[in-house]
């Protein structure tokens, strides 16, 4: 195996991992606050089209990223209002958000079909970013570094800050948090908006970095992998990083199988692997720990204070 091959593999894996890592980090915070938002896929698509749209309109990918975050966050607010104000079922509302996001992003995307945006690539000098070896460190879009930095930031926020502790408390026992005097709804709105923004940036990675153009349903189900990843990681940010790269490697194997004719198994099998692994990982975890381990106790339950 040549060094070039290993570098190419790493670059591919990092690219495949970044969107699911971003979306999963956002969903981790949402779920730690006790809310199950199954609309990740829809929010990623909204982020993808908003990021792309802003980039081709302003020729500024940094504004594009802000647009992607805003698109994801705004669409998540629709979910937040239904779930927090009207106490609608979180599972059904999340699924609806995915369907809605898929449809609305396609509608907005009609006017952007055929456009090509500049790739939001490395911002390091070309001598570093395009170097045959150094590109393994410097050759990525700023979104990649942002995702990696957010792992310890989210972990530190949840574990060591007072706000993070309050957020966990809200997810653990919403009624108690309310009776102590914390704003359960306020915390959850903020968490859902953060989750939406992160999913939006994750989605924008597809339309701004991987293929700098818009295509319907271009996130191809990665939102669902992000959701499974949160459970797979046992609601811990550090394990989320490991899990995301594990799935990234599986997805890279599919590409490799297709491209190289490495074919003792059909490439469809490799394509199915991440999803199959999701099922297996979830089964193994639930068998090992029936109580759900680290799962927030109020996950998915509506908040109904007595007042």
């Amino acid at each position: 195996m040549s060094t070039e091959f290993i570098i190419a593999a790493i670059v591919t894996i990092v690219g495949l991992t970044t969107p699911i890592l971003l979306a999963a980090l956002g969903e981790l915070v949402v779920e730690k606050a006790g809310v199950l938002n199954l609309g990740v896929e829809g929010m990623m698509l909204m982020g993808a089209i908003c990021g792309f749209g802003v980039t081709v309109s302003t020729f500024n990918p940094w504004l594009g990223i802000l647009g992607a975050a805003a698109g994801g966050a705004l669409s998540s607010m629709l979910f937040a209002v239904l779930v927090l104000e009207l106490n609608s079922n979180q599972v059904a509302t999340g699924l609806a958000l995915t369907i809605f996001g898929t449809g609305l992003s396609s509608l907005i995307g009609l006017s952007y079909t055929g456009f090509i945006a500049p790739v939001f690539g490395s911002v390091f000098p070309a001598s570093l970013a395009n170097d045959a070896y150094l590109k393994v460190i410097f050759g990525y879009s700023p979104i990649v570094y942002f995702a990696l930095i957010m792992v310890p930031v989210v972990a530190w926020f949840l574990k060591s800050t007072r706000s993070g502790m309050i957020l966990r408390a809200v997810g653990e026992n919403d009624l108690s948090a309310h009776s102590i005097g914390y704003s359960v709804k306020g915390v959850r709105y903020a968490a859902i908006a953060f989750g939406g923004a992160m999913a939006g940036i994750g989605g924008a990675y597809f339309s701004m970095v991987i293929t700098p153009m818009w295509a319907e349903k271009m996130t191809a189900g990665r939102g669902w992998i992000a959701l499974a990843l949160v459970v797979f990681a046992g609601w811990r940010a550090g394990r989320l990083l490991v899990g995301a790269y594990f799935f990234g490697i599986l997805m890279a194997l599919e590409l490799y199988a297709k491209a190289s004719g490495f074919s003792f198994l059909p490439s469809q099998f490799w394509a199915a692997m991440p999803y199959l692994m999701t099922v297996i990982a979830l089964s193994v975890i639930s068998m090992r720990d029936r109580s759900g381990g680290n799962a927030p106790a109020c996950l998915g339950k509506p908040f109904l204070p007595s007042t």
């Binding site: 502790m165 408390a169 653990e172 026992n173 009624l175 102590i180 005097g181 927030p296 007042t307």
Partner: protein, 522 residues
């Protein structure tokens, strides 16, 4: 107590309405500095609503709250704590997956560095003799330790008024005594205490003044040391307290339920294993099992009801028939009925109607299922009979179980089992959270069922209940059952020690083995 003019807390004509209910109707009373003031009343009398308004969780619709003479509005709990009002909830507002330290920090409004907070916690713990390990995860703690977290959390704020909502319902008699020492020390330092309870002997032992609520209205403010438990109870329920009527000269018959060396491994590492449980219940006998929660009561109920099976089929026999390997359904057919502690979700499905809930346990004994189809008419008729016989306050057999109050649902569940005339009835916490009127009705129904020849096992944490209801008593501690003792010559001190796991002189308990009991109780 001090002069009326400088009351620490004064309520004037507090009124609170909920849709369809007047929860508090013009309630006025005051609490002096250093006074331990009892708030007494049945479930639904409005005690909890009242203190929630004092603590800022709810807002009154009318009336005023005065704090040290000044009129105030307590907008939210944070404002209450700022004034110096602390509260220890009945259902602990704790976060199970978090540490003791994090739980306490969450209750503090000021941002205190973790290390400083830990030092202050240690200070409060030594001052009041409350033991806690700050870095333990709450889910690994006992109920008594969890309560200590709540108390420490409240004490860290140097409260001027501490509200305690039914604090002793989960404690052993010895733990209650320790709690009282802390509360008396606090009161002597000038802290006022508002103590909510319906345990009258505790109020007599602890409180300086008692305010009694009934149906949202203030009935009386009295001095518990001059009142009797009975007089306060009658003010609380607004009528004469019914004494359980037991037939004179009642004798118990032959041995019915025999549990012989019942062993059961723990279901999870938080659970308790049962070790060599042995006891006998005769026809017409009510057998009580006392003990502090979490000592194997749930495991024992599940083993008797058939939700978990024993390895040895002969560990449980009724009239000589071995039941150990029979399922819950087969045991019901054999005449063994049971009522678990948890009403909603275990004994009944809250979303189901009362009629459908009756199908769940009575379908086989009363033939409510024919050819695989539910006979809804039979179910509704039976549910209607239970409702009228047991005076259940419900709109009818079509009401959902979840819409009933705790006491009414418990009456319904007890009625549903009793009217199937079980040969053996096992009940856990029959009157937990049930008001005095409903409790008396449930007790009377159990006594009547026993008089008709059934063998009854009552598992309860309420020692007073067991002493007034049962013929024979044993104490469960860490999955072991003490030898049986006749209630007539039981020693409360000894039972309290058994509950705490201190096993007395074996010679003294050896002569307490079961014998035919002839109970004559007042």
């Amino acid at each position: 107590m001090g002069t009326e003019a400088t009351a620490r807390l004064e309520l004037k004509s507090i009124t609170k309405r909920f849709p369809g209910v007047l929860a508090n109707d013009q309630v006025s009373f005051s609490v002096q500095p250093g006074e331990i003031h009892a708030l007494l009343g049945e479930n639904g009398a409005g005690k909890s609503t009242l203190v929630k308004m004092i603590y800022g969780i709810m807002q009154p619709d009318g009336g005023e709250i005065r704090w040290n003479g000044e009129r105030i509005v307590v907008a939210h709990p944070k404002a209450a704590r700022k004034l110096g009002i602390g509260m220890v909830f009945q259902h602990f507002s704790l976060f199970e997956a978090m540490t003791v330290l994090e739980n306490i920090a969450l209750g503090m409004d000021a941002k205190i560095p973790a290390r400083e907070l830990e030092a202050r916690i240690k200070e409060v713990m030594t001052q009041y003799g409350l033991k806690l390990e700050p870095h333990r995860i709450v889910s690994t703690l006992s109920v008594g330790e969890r309560q200590r977290i709540e108390i420490v959390r409240a004490l860290l704020l140097n409260p001027k008024l501490l509200i305690m909502d039914e604090p002793t319902s989960v404690l052993t008699p010895q733990e209650v005594e320790q709690l009282f020492v802390v509360l008396r020390q606090l009161a002597s330092e000038g802290c006022s205490i508002l103590y909510i309870s319906h345990k009258l002997h505790e109020i007599k032992a602890l409180c300086h003044t008692a305010t009694i609520l009934r149906g949202g209205k203030l009935v009386d403010t009295c001095n518990p040391s001059v009142e009797t438990s009975r007089s306060m109870a009658e003010k609380m329920i607004g009528g004469n307290l019914k004494t359980i009527e037991k037939a004179e000269g009642r004798t118990v018959g032959r041995e019915k339920l025999i549990v012989n060396r019942l062993n059961m491994p723990a279901r999870s590492h938080f659970g308790v294993s049962l070790k060599d449980i042995t006891f006998t219940v005769r026809e017409g006998e009510i057998f009580g099992i006392a003990g502090v929660a979490g000592n194997g009561q749930n495991a024992l109920l599940l083993a008797l009801s058939g939700e978990t099976l024993t390895d040895d089929p002969g560990a449980i026999t009724v009239d000589g028939a071995q039941l150990g390997r029979l399922t819950a359904k087969q045991r019901r057919l054999a005449g063994v009925s049971s009522v678990p502690e948890e009403r909603n979700g275990h004994a009944a499905v809250p979303e189901f109607t009362l009629a459908d809930n009756s199908v769940l346990t009575a379908r086989d004994r009363l033939g409510m299922v024919k050819g695989g189809l539910i006979d809804h008419k039979a179910a509704r008729t039976y549910a209607g009979e239970v409702i009228s016989t047991f005076a259940v306050k419900a709109l009818g057999p079509g009401s959902t179980a979840g819409s009933l109050s705790g006491g009414n649902l418990q009456k319904y569940i007890m009625g549903r089992e009793i009217m199937q005339n079980p040969a053996v009835l096992v009940v856990s916490q029959p009157t937990w959270g049930v008001d005095a009127g409903a409790a008396a009705a449930i007790h009377q129904a159990l006594v009547d069922l026993a008089a008709a020849g059934s063998a009854i096992v009552v598992i309860s944490q309420d020692l007073d209940e067991l002493l007034s209801l049962c013929d024979t008593l044993a104490v469960i501690n860490e999955g072991r059952l003490s030898p049986s003792m006749k209630v007539a010559d039981a020693d409360i001190e000894e039972i309290g020690l058994l509950m705490g796991g201190v096993h007395g002189d074996p010679a003294a308990t050896a002569n307490l083995h079961p014998e035919p009991v002839h109970a004559h109780q007042a």
